[in-house]
């Protein structure tokens, strides 16, 4: 690992010698008792440029969550280089914000206290955090629900609370695992616009996992398409559509074309 690392450093590969996030030959396999190990990720390499939104698009079970957890520092890759700002990721970093596949709210805390959890864990005692949390909540349309309990919210509202919680400490890297996967189409489109809006305001770099082609195309600067397990990169597509993106873009030729290309890489269209 260290050898690969220094070799890469010496080589100084690629146009950008120090991209925000750099992933080289990342592999992950899981030991299975009495069976051959399960290879979830096979030699995945790509860069994550500062301030960009990159989607990981792939079929269910291909290893997207696994890769995201590796980047989040929640899991160590079996092999390969995983660097954020030139530093190997070995554990979760304070400047990361993670939105999980499920909202993961604490049922015993109010909405506001759920959002403030990262601040509390950091023992960050300042009134500023509370104001920031309240502002985020009103930004996602949850003003007036600060003191509600998660059980009183709909699934979409819970996911918005989770988004606020991931943003409250102003992370530089936002890692999102199919955050809108369980939402209905309408709410999902609203949430996508909301995410783009928030990113425009904060300038955070975003790594976004999804299995929806249109979601990936609509949101991203770049779409990394994964093959079936073991995941390798089937295609890497830059989306030339300008920001801010508007819902009408979903019907333009470029959008369809890119969707088509992603579909071909996934093997679902010809």
């Amino acid at each position: 690992m260290a050898e690969v690392n220094s070799a890469l450093k010496r080589a100084g590969t690629g146009p950008d010698p120090a991209p925000f996030g750099r992933f080289r030959d990342v592999r992950q396999s899981f030991a299975r008792p009495g069976q051959a190990p399960l290879h979830a990720i096979e030699a995945v390499s790509f860069d994550l440029e500062r301030g960009k939104l990159v989607s990981l698009l792939g079929p269910s079970g291909c290893g997207k969550t696994t890769l995201l957890k590796i980047v989040a520092g929640l899991m160590r890759a079996t092999a390969g280089v995983v660097q954020i700002e030139g530093v190997d990721v070995t554990e979760p970093q304070p400047e990361f914000g993670v939105v999980f596949q499920t909202a993961n709210l604490m049922p015993w805390r109010s909405v506001l206290r759920n959002v403030l959890l990262p601040i509390e864990i950091r023992r960050d005692t300042g009134g500023a955090a509370r104001a920031a949390a309240l502002e985020l909540l009103s930004l996602v349309g949850l003003a007036g629900f600060e003191h509600a309990r998660p059980a009183e919210l709909s699934g979409g509202m819970q996911q918005r609370v989770a988004l606020c919680r991931a943003l409250v400490h102003k992370p530089r890297l936002l890692l999102m695992d199919e955050p809108f996967g369980s939402l209905d189409e309408l709410t999902r489109m609203e949430m996508q616009d909301l995410l783009l809006d928030i990113r425009a305001r904060t300038g955070a770099t975003v790594l976004f996992v999804t299995h929806s082609i249109s979601e990936a195309v609509y949101l991203s600067d770049r779409v990394v398409v994964f093959s079936r397990r073991p995941a390798t990169i089937a295609d890497m597509i830059d989306v030339p559509l300008p920001y801010p993106r508007t819902p009408e873009l979903r019907y333009c030729a470029t959008f369809t074309e890119i969707g088509h290309r992603a579909g071909r890489a996934l093997g679902v269209s010809r």
């Binding site: 989040a72 979760p92 304070p94 999980f100 993961n104 604490m106 049922p107 959890l117 864990i121």
Partner: protein, 253 residues
């Protein structure tokens, strides 16, 4: 919501009324001896006549029950924390705990009596012993079934082990703790009465035995009903505390 509450109180009370009336009629129509089965009115009368005595004998029983229960909480919860967080402790203690559970509590009572004598200590010890197990087991179960998603969230935020325990594991386990506590308080009453049966100088259990041996059945029955009421009140008190402390979810029971 109000309506539901009313229904939930109304129907059991109606059922109770039917039983009491049937009981009263039966004892009067068939002229059942009040030694064999006193009528509800006999029992009510005895309750009123011996009110001061019954009340005086309630305190020792109540004291032993509550104290035994509280000690079980104070010792049981930390033990559960250790068992839930340490594999070695879990492997060592859990089988022992389960094994002690198969010892009939009535059978230990005479031994406890030898150790602690006829005073408060014996019944307290038995109340504690029976209350201890459900508290330890349910708390440990609760601590072990923290939603994995919340643990992962805590890890992603780099929470310290103490923060994980105090902000995630413990609150998530609270509904389980209360579910154990509700069983424990009921058992603690039984434990205290066993203690009083085996040997004591006061308490409702003691009064019940004494009245019974003097063929004062109405008083014995009155003591029995006071004991049941005591159990219900204590259970309700724990359930009330649960509502205040765990407003987000009830363990049901």
């Amino acid at each position: 919501m109000k309506r539901l509450l009313l229904e939930r109180a109304l129907y059991p009370l109606l059922g109770l009324a039917v039983i009491v009336v049937a009981w009263q009629l039966y004892t009067q129509l068939y002229a059942v001896s009040r030694i064999v089965l006193p009528s509800p009115s006999d029992i009510a009368l005895a309750s009123v006549r011996h009110f001061a005595l019954l009340l005086a004998q309630t305190w020792p029983t109540l004291g032993a029950t509550v104290l035994g229960f509280v000690i079980a909480l104070v010792l049981g919860i930390p033990l559960a924390v250790c068992v839930a967080n340490s594999r070695v402790l879990n492997l060592t203690l859990y089988p022992i705990l389960v094994a002690t559970q198969s010892v009939p509590k009535v059978a230990i009572a005479p031994i406890v009596l030898v150790w602690f004598g006829f005073g408060m200590e014996s019944k307290l010890a038995i109340a504690f012993l029976v209350a201890f197990f459900p508290i330890v087991v349910d708390t440990a179960t609760g601590l072990r079934s923290t939603p994995p998603g919340l643990l992962e969230l805590a890890r992603s935020l780099r929470a310290s082990p103490w923060q994980v325990f105090s902000k995630v594991q413990m609150p998530a386990a609270l509904p389980f703790v209360f579910s154990g506590a509700k069983v424990a308080i009921t058992l603690a009453v039984i434990g205290a009465v066993i203690g009083e049966f085996v040997g004591s100088v006061d308490g409702l259990g003691n009064l019940l035995l004494a009245a019974n041996s003097q063929l004062e059945s109405p008083l014995a029955w009155a003591a029995l009903i006071w004991l049941s009421a005591l159990g219900i009140v204590l259970f309700a008190a724990v359930a009330l505390v649960e509502r205040l402390v765990v407003p987000w979810g009830h363990s049901g029971r």
